[in-house]
């Protein structure tokens, strides 16, 4: 399961910028990681730190009106997706890479029957058409455990609950057995009990198919149960990445430490990452050095002058982006 073995997807130096009032600002900057077949990488961080933009950049779905990828590569089996044009990306989306979105209530088209929306995912990537596509779509809906799927095939999204709609989204994403699935907070909008069901379904489907998954979440409790490795983002930077146990036991970046110490106890409500003082700066007002400097208890003068480089921790699978901690590591080594 090491990322070196079979990297299904390699993200390398990915930088995506948005134009705000005539100027371009990086929303994510120099993001690098990889995911292997069968592996789940959790992408965590506070709201606004660039998790969704990372996923959309991989999909080639950054809104064209004011956004673009300015640097970096997204390698799928060694092939760079960034320079591909729209027609070529259409062949990859929903086929080799799928995405599940956060908001099940608005992510399905309200004027098309759900069965049609599932079958449509097959139509453009497989030879299936007409009755065969319908039969396969129905099988998919049954697979994601939509009750009486046959009867509900021609129903519209507004006739389904949030949890059921998210199951439909999962069926759509799985339709062409993608190599990798990007799940952007797929359960955040759901009730707690429904969340657990949908997570269980995703885990089950993933172990059946052996696909890779990038699971974006706020919820560190979910991370512990679903992820193999964890990447932590802060203000558009990927600041730490490590196998899940390693990260929970030996967090290195001060932001990761703060996140972990803010996890609610089991006896309290499972919850969001919030209680660190201060907030993520907006992309239009990023500090020039380390973007966490304002909130960081370990800050040294160098931190505000230069953005920290990525450094390996003792374990080569553990990388961190911090002047102080990287220096400590190399001193220890």
């Amino acid at each position: 399961m090491s990322e070196a073995q079979h990297p299904s997807l390699v993200v390398d130096g990915l930088t995506t910028a948005f134009r705000v009032e005539g100027r371009w600002y990086d929303a994510i900057r120099d993001v690098s990681f990889s995911v292997a077949k069968n592996e789940t990488l959790a992408l965590v961080g506070e709201s606004g730190c660039g998790k969704s933009i990372t996923a959309l950049s991989i999909m080639g779905l950054v809104p064209k009106a004011n956004g673009r990828i300015t640097a970096g590569r997204v390698l799928l089996d060694g092939r760079d997706l960034v320079p591909l044009d729209e027609t070529e990306m259409e062949k990859i989306r929903g086929n080799a890479i799928s995405m599940i979105f956060q908001e099940p209530m608005t992510s399905l088209n309200p004027v098309l029957p759900i069965g049609f929306q599932v079958a449509e995912a097959l139509r453009y990537h497989t030879a299936l058409a007409g009755e065969a596509a319908r039969a396969r779509a129905l099988a998919l809906l049954e697979h994601v455990k939509i009750p009486s799927a046959a009867r509900r095939f021609d129903d519209y999204p507004h006739q389904f609950s949030g949890g059921m709609r998210q199951r439909v989204m999962i069926a759509i994403a799985l339709a062409c057995s993608p190599q990798i699935i990007l799940a952007d907070e797929p359960t955040t909008a759901l009730d707690v009990t429904i969340q657990a069901q949908v997570l269980a379904l995703l885990a089950e489907l993933k172990s059946e198919t052996g696909m890779a998954m990038i699971f974006i979440t706020h919820n560190l409790g979910v991370v512990a149960s679903i992820a193999d490795r964890v990447a932590v983002m802060y203000a558009g930077d990927l600041i730490e990445i490590a196998p899940v146990e390693e990260l929970f036991e030996h967090p290195m970046h001060p932001y990761t430490e703060a996140l972990l110490s803010s996890i609610p106890r089991v006896d309290r409500d499972a919850g969001d990452l919030k209680p660190i003082a201060g907030q993520v700066p907006p992309i239009t007002a990023m500090p020039s050095g380390c973007r966490y400097a304002d909130r960081c208890p370990l800050r040294v003068p160098r931190c505000t002058k230069m953005p920290p480089l990525v450094a390996l921790a003792v374990d080569p699978k553990h990388r961190v982006r911090c002047w102080v901690r990287a220096a400590e590591e190399s001193a220890n080594a």
Binding site: L61, K91, G94, N95, N109, P110, L112, Y124, Y156, I172
Partner: protein
């Protein structure tokens, strides 16, 4: 869908009754006694009473009202005060011309306005979008009769492509069509402006929706995303505007019919106003009420076709 249609029909009936009631009282309350028009203002008390009796105006209001409603609902609009011919015959003579004009304008408006609006939305803030927006602004602010006169000057008087004096009434289908082109284009261009404007803005809204991103994330080709996923949703406000604008269109057709000298409801109205044909005006108001109710009904039914959430209500 069937239940939805039945429900809409059931709602249309009381609406129609209400509108007819308004027409009835509007005509009674409006100042001026029609008998003076018939008899002149020197008429004797006796003559006035006789005409009142003949028109049934001496009966109690409630009786008049019930009588009005029952005859109207039987399709009897009474006779013209001026020609003494049945109003329904006069209307039926010209109604096809108004309908063909309105429908051609509607057709032009939708067939040009919709794709233009969609293209403008897809190429937002590009040349095409600016051009389309300027055109729509012109179309919305230009009075219909001015553009009618300009069309006549250019295409009939200068270029002789179309007749100046309409021959709409001839039996020859070709000359009927050629008489229709300019007036239909005149009204149609305004319709294009309206449809383009809403199509553009509702398309822009829809293109930012999550489900469009979902469709793209499935690898659905851009063309299909636009025409199936986006348009299906963007049509809903367009239907509203087309429905509302059909009413305006009928109003605009009055001026257009006069400029192009076409037979039609518009000309009939103006003539009966000039001649103070009071029963004719009442009949025409009833006809308009019917038309508006039917247009609303069609609009509602179109909603049902476009939006599953509506038809399952």
């Amino acid at each position: 869908m069937l239940i939805y249609i039945v429900k809409r029909l059931l709602v249309a009936v009381p609406t129609l009754l209400a509108v007819l009631t308004v027409v009835f009282f509007f005509v009674r309350i409006a100042p001026g006694d029609p008998t003076f028009i018939i008899l002149g203002d020197q008429a004797s008390q006796q003559a006035i009473a006789a005409v009142h009796h003949e028109l049934g105006l001496d009966r109690p209001m409630l009786v008049q009202y019930l009588d009005f409603m029952s005859t109207v609902l039987q399709g009897d609009l009474g006779n013209s005060l001026v020609t003494h011919r049945p109003i329904w015959n006069e209307v039926a003579n010209v109604l096809p011309y108004t309908i063909e004009l309105t429908l051609s304008a509607l057709f032009i408006g939708v067939v040009l306005g919709l794709p233009l609006g969609i293209a403008a939305a897809r190429h937002r803030n590009e040349t095409l979008d600016y051009a389309a927006r300027i055109f729509s602004l012109l179309g919305l602010s230009f009075p219909a009769f001015v553009s009618a006169i300009m069309l006549l000057l250019a295409f009939a008087i200068e270029l002789h492509w179309f007749p100046v004096i309409s021959e709409a009434r001839t039996g020859d289908p070709l000359s009927r069509v050629s008489a229709l082109v300019l007036p239909a284009v005149n009204l149609g261009l305004i319709m294009v402006a309206y449809v383009m404007r809403v199509a553009r803005s509702s398309m822009l809204g829809v293109l930012g929706e999550d489900y469009i991103r979902t469709a793209r994330s499935k690898g659905v080709p851009a063309r299909v995303v636009i025409w199936r996923h986006a348009l299906g949703n963007a049509l809903i406000p367009v239907v509203t505007v087309v429905g509302l604008y059909l009413g305006v269109l009928i109003g605009n057709s009055v001026l257009t019919e006069i400029v192009f000298n076409r037979p039609g409801l518009g000309k009939l109205i103006v003539n009966s106003l000039n001649q103070r044909d009071y029963t004719m005006l009442e009949g025409l108001m009833v006809i308009y009420a019917f038309i508006i109710v039917i247009v609303n009904l069609l609009t509602d039914l179109t909603y049902g076709l476009v939006d599953p959430r509506v038809r399952q209500r």
